[in-house]
C-alpha cells in the first residue's frame, strides 16, 4: 500500500518547475496567501488569488488530484453561501433583495459569504498545490534548517507516516471483528476497533522509539542530512517577489478598511435568490447522498 493510495492529499511525484521550487519559498507563498486572504474583503483579490493558485495546477501536472481534493469545497461552499444569504454575519442593517417563503434574502449576505468562501478557496488551493508538489522529507529538512525544533519536526513527519498505517489497521481489525460475527456498519462498527488500534498504536510508538534510539536517534538532531534541498536564485526571487506582493496588498487592504466592495457591487435580487436555491439544494443533495451511502454500507 502506498502513501498515495491511503492519503487523500499527498505528493504527486513530478518534475515540473513547481516541484523544484524550494519548500521554504512555497511556505512563504502559502503563509502570504493566508495573511492576504484574511486581511482583505476585496473579492477581486480573493478570487484572483484562487484563480492563480488553480492555474498552477496544470503547470505542475496536478489538476486532477487538485480537483479531487477541492471537492471538499462543495459542501463547505454551498452551506456557507446559503447560510450567509439568509443570515449574514455582518452588522445590521442588511439590505433585503428578495424573499422566499418565510426567508428574507440579503444582498450583503451574499457578498460576505463570497468573501468567506474566497478566503477558504484561495488558501486551500495554494496549500493543496504545495502539498502535492513537495516531498514531505524535503519539507521537513527545510523546516529543520529554519531551526524548527528537531523532535517536533520529527513528530510531525512521523504522524504523516503513521496515518496510512492506522487506516490499514482499522480496516484489518474491522474485518477481523466482522468475521467473528460482529454486525453493524458506519460509526458503530468503527468504534470498537479504536481500542485495539489505540493499544496497537502505543505499542508501535514504543517499539519505534526503541528502534530509533538504537540507531543513534536523539533529541539533539541529525548532524548531517541525506536529503539535500537546494535553494537557487530563482527560489529567492520567487519568494521575495511573492512576499512583497502579499505584504503590499495586505497593507493597502487594511488601510482601505479591508477594501470591502459590498456597497459597490450590487447583486440583482433574482440572481441572489437563485443562487440561494442552488446552494441550499446542493448542500441538501450532499447530505442526502452521504446518508444513502452510509446506510448502504
Amino acid at each position: 500500500m502506498s502513501m498515495q493510495a491511503a492519503l487523500p492529499v499527498a505528493l504527486i511525484p513530478g518534475n515540473s518547475f513547481i516541484h523544484k521550487v524550494n519548500p521554504i519559498t512555497k511556505i512563504v507563498w502559502v503563509i502570504g496567501y493566508i495573511v492576504l486572504a484574511f486581511s482583505t474583503q476585496n473579492i477581486y483579490i480573493l478570487y484572483g488569488m484562487a484563480l492563480f493558485a488553480f492555474l498552477l495546477a496544470p503547470l505542475a501536472g496536478v489538476t486532477k488530484p487538485l480537483l479531487k481534493g477541492a471537492l471538499i469545497l462543495v459542501p463547505i461552499g454551498s452551506s456557507l453561501l446559503a447560510l450567509q444569504i439568509i443570515a449574514p454575519a455582518v452588522e445590521q442593517p442588511w439590505t433585503p433583495v428578495a424573499s422566499l417563503g418565510g426567508f428574507t434574502i440579503y444582498g450583503d449576505g451574499l457578498y460576505y459569504g463570497l468573501v468567506l468562501l474566497g478566503r477558504i478557496v484561495a488558501s486551500l488551493l495554494i496549500a493543496l498545490v504545495m502539498v502535492m508538489t513537495t516531498h514531505p522529507s524535503d519539507l521537513f529538512t527545510s523546516l529543520a534548517k529554519l531551526k524548527m525544533p528537531y523532535t517536533l519536526n520529527f513528530m510531525l513527519a512521523m504522524t504523516l507516516q503513521l496515518i496510512p498505517v492506522f487506516q490499514r489497521e482499522v480496516g484489518i481489525i474491522m474485518s477481523a471483528q466482522k468475521s467473528r460475527g460482529m454486525k453493524g456498519s458506519g460509526f458503530a462498527a468503527v468504534l470498537p476497533s479504536f481500542v485495539p488500534v489505540f493499544v496497537g498504536a502505543i505499542e508501535r510508538v514504543q517499539q519505534l522509539s526503541i528502534s530509533l534510539e538504537s540507531r543513534g536517534f536523539g533529541s539533539d538532531g541529525m548532524k548531517t542530512s541525506f536529503r539535500q534541498v537546494r535553494s537557487r536564485p530563482s527560489d529567492w526571487i520567487i519568494g521575495i517577489v511573492g512576499a512583497a506582493i502579499f505584504i503590499g496588498l495586505s497593507i493597502i487592504s487594511i488601510m482601505k478598511g479591508l477594501w470591502s466592495l459590498a456597497h459597490v457591487i450590487v447583486f440583482p435580487g433574482t440572481f441572489v435568490l437563485w443562487l440561494f436555491i442552488i446552494a441550499a439544494a446542493t448542500f441538501a443533495g450532499v447530505i442526502i447522498v452521504t446518508l444513502i451511502y452510509a446506510f448502504k454500507k
Partner: protein, 286 residues
C-alpha cells in the same frame, strides 16, 4: 584470549510490573569476532538478553536489574542508548515497527545522519548497504509499501549501514523465504569473517544455527541452560528434547541410529557430515 566484548556478570532482571524474572543469574562472556546463536522457547528471555546488550534495558525499559553488563569496556546503563548505538546495532523482531521514514534510502540514512556521516559518504554507503541485503535500487520505495521480507532486509540494512562492532539480530528472517534466510545468514557470516563483526543471532531454525554459529546458547525460563559449540549442543538430542527444542534433522536421525547401535561416530549436525556418515554406513554394509 582477548577481553570479552560482551560480559554478563550474574545478571538478574524482571520487567517492572511483573513478578517473574525474565533473566535469572546470567553469566556470559562473548569474545570479539564470535558468531553466537541463541536458542530457546517463546518467553525464554532471548530478546530480553539482547536488550541488555544495547542498553534499552535498563535505560528505556525499566525494571529490577541486578548484576552488571559490560560491552566493549563500557558499563551498560551508564550511557544513553544512542551512545551504545555506535557499538551495538540491533535488528528487532518486528520489522514494520522499525520503519520511520518516507523512503528506504532515508531509512538507511537515519543512523548515518545521527552519526554525522558526511553526505558524500552516505551517497556511497546507502546503495551499497541496500545491495548487500538484496534491495538494490529500492532507495525511493516507501518502507510501508514493502513486503514483510523486504522490510526485514531493510531493517537489517538500516543497522548494518552504521557498521557496528556488535550485530544483534532478533529473529531476523521470520518473514523471509528459504533463499532469503540463507542470504541473510551468509551475509552476517561474511561480515563476521571479513570485518570481525561480533554477531549475536536469536533464531529458531536449528539447521541454520548448526551451519553458521561458532557457539550456541540455549535459554530456558530466563536462564542459560546450555552453552557450547553447535556440535556439543546439537549432539545432545535428548537433553534438547526435554527442553522441547528441536535439533537439526540429521542429528535426530543419527541419534536414532546411535540408540539402536547402528552408528558410533560423532552425531552429524549439518548436511555434509551427515552424507559422509551415510556413505560410511552404506560402505560398511556392502
Amino acid at each position: 584470549m582477548s577481553d570479552p566484548i560482551i560480559r554478563f556478570d550474574n545478571v538478574t532482571f524482571g520487567y517492572s510490573g511483573t513478578e517473574v524474572h525474565a533473566l535469572e543469574s546470567i553469566s556470559l562472556e562473548i569474545q570479539p569476532g564470535e558468531y553466537v546463536a541463541i536458542l530457546g522457547l517463546n518467553g525464554a528471555g532471548k530478546t530480553t538478553l539482547g536488550l541488555c546488550v544495547n542498553g534499552v534495558i535498563p535505560i528505556m525499559l525499566g525494571g529490577n536489574l541486578e548484576g552488571t553488563v559490560t560491552v566493549d569496556g563500557l558499563n551498560v546503563g551508564d550511557y544513553p542508548v544512542r551512545e551504545m548505538a555506535k557499538i551495538v546495532g540491533m535488528v528487532f523482531d518486528n520489522p514494520e515497527f522499525q520503519m520511520s521514514q518516507m523512503s528506504a534510502g532515508e531509512e538507511v540514512a537515519l543512523g548515518l545522519e545521527n552519526a554525522g556521516i558526511p553526505y558524500e559518504e552516505m551517497k556511497r554507503i546507502i546503495p551499497e548497504t541496500l545491495a548487500l541485503v538484496g534491495l538494490a535500487g529500492f532507495e525511493e520505495r516507501s518502507p510501508l509499501g514493502l513486503s514483510g521480507g523486504q522490510q526485514q532486509r531493510l531493517a537489517i540494512a538500516a543497522v548494518l549501514a552504521m557498521n557496528p562492532k556488535i550485530l544483534i539480530m532478533d529473529e531476523p528472517t521470520s518473514n523471509l523465504d528459504p533463499i532469503g534466510k540463507q542470504e541473510v545468514f551468509d551475509m552476517a557470516a561474511k561480515l563476521n569473517r571479513e570485518n570481525g563483526m561480533t554477531v549475536l543471532v536469536i533464531e529458531h531454525e536449528v539447521e541454520v544455527m548448526a551451519k553458521y554459529a561458532d557457539r550456541v546458547i540455549v535459554m530456558d525460563g530466563g536462564r542459560i541452560v546450555m552453552n557450547g559449540t553447535p556440535q556439543e549442543i546439537f549432539g545432545q538430542v535428548d537433553a534438547l528434547a526435554e527442553l522441547k527444542l528441536r535439533v537439526p534433522e540429521s542429528a535426530e536421525v543419527a541419534s536414532i541410529l546411535k540408540s539402536r547401535g547402528m552408528w558410533n561416530g560423532p552425531i552429524p549436525i549439518t548436511t555434509e557430515p551427515a552424507i559422509a556418515a551415510v556413505n560410511e554406513l552404506l560402505g560398511a554394509k556392502s
